[in-house]
Symmetry: D2
Subunit: 148 residues, 4 copies
């Protein structure tokens, strides 16, 4: 099989979401996944709050990183995150509903770069994220466990 | 009160950990906190696993970011994360016990920079993290809620 | 004077460019500067080439970082870069003409975040950049030396 | 030839430095290169100064990125920078002499991560840098032009 030419099944995103224990544990919901894009949502609850009483930076990151994972694996080839950068702009409180939108900025044979923006209900950009993946040679179609 | 001269109570770290719902939800344990340093641990469980069957990058980040939060707030002044960078070196599996060690690299009146390293049980560096905080003028002694 | 309300002179960008020895040394040209935005250009010459025969990552960064500096100082208040992140997508050769476009993603009282994209003549995104500044209380109108 | 087993010639670093027009243009000097490490120096001159009268962030980065390039190519295999992060801690003035020390933090078959610290004459950490490379399959021994 040539690199990168796998046609992923139409329900690849749903299959990924079904298998992802971390997303489920944090209440991160898949809303949409396309070719190199994704949209995920998270309602901020008490389990996301840090010792200062606001949404933990790690919870915002978990949302962004999950969006990055869906977008970068949307082509049906296993892609592994190697490097990420996040900027935090505005504090987030319990009860807010956040949307993360990922898009592909660049994709070569082995390396691809994605940007994710997290918006709150008012449409304010609360955080920005850039992530780079290493593209493996293994298909990742949601049908075969990676470890098999 | 002059900036940065608050003497934090000896049990500041424990008080922070007690208040942090996100850490508790992910099983992140405080092991030690010093002046500009911290050490936290996390045993990788099924709630940390991603759709590829390995530890989610967001779970590793949550551990590193929490260590960053303890180290940067250890001086008793509220510090807010504004920017972070993470590199992922080695995959992590369920059952591994991870240690995150944070140290202060630089601290001026308003900005401070921390590095965190995550090691697995074998002592291998599985991820590296750099984070920058903005140092506010508010004391954060664990006795007063920030929002009060 | 209240923070952030300085009205910069219309020719602020030209004055900055006139004073900047590093830009001049590398052949970086100011094309446009607006409120929170800038556009700079650089023709890749032999002085930008690394030991592998392609444009040095530091030369691409110098272009992006300069665009970041103009955009973040465009409001007439001295802003100091504290943290930057760059992704390299496509190699660049001698003779190519690069354009860097900066835009403000977020600005609070003390912290602001900018993104810069570098495009080659074909319009391909060759590198992406995110930078954070600390906004000081000092006006920076191009008329007064900072050190004075 | 197996990946990564090239034995680079002893004078690889000097050969790289001889070919690097960007380093020469900025007065960056190679001091030492080892297996996954390097040390470079730069005396801050008027050609490094920005519009605020201090050393340009791009000049500090050029020094760090060059140290990253020597360390990551020290094994005799061409490595291409894909992602970098820099934190700026202390302003730097004309006349200061800076030292950049790079070290390898992680190296797998295709990806490696390096940290660089820039110190001023007083030994103060003025900036920190983390960079990731993609390791190609091409030898880079300083004897053959990459383009050949």
């Amino acid at each position: 099989m040539a690199d990168g030419v796998v046609t992923p099944p139409a329900d690849l995103g749903r299959e990924f979401a079904r298998r992802d224990g971390f997303m489920r544990h944090l209440g991160i919901k898949l809303h949409d996944v396309g070719s190199g894009t994704s949209e995920l949502r998270m309602a901020v609850q008490s389990c996301h709050i840090n010792f200062n009483g606001t949404c933990h930076g790690g919870a915002l990151y978990a949302l962004a990183d999950s969006a990055f994972g869906f977008a970068s694996n949307s082509h049906g080839i296993l892609a592994a995150g190697i490097d990420t950068h996040m900027t935090y702009h505005v504090g987030v409180s319990e009860g807010e509903v956040l949307v993360a939108k990922a898009q592909e900025k660049s994709r070569s044979r082995r390396i691809a770069v994605y940007q994710v923006e997290i918006l709150n209900s008012a449409g304010t950009l609360v955080a920005g994220f850039t992530g780079t993946v290493y593209i493996t040679t293994r298909p990742n179609t949601g049908q075969d466990a990676v470890a098999s």
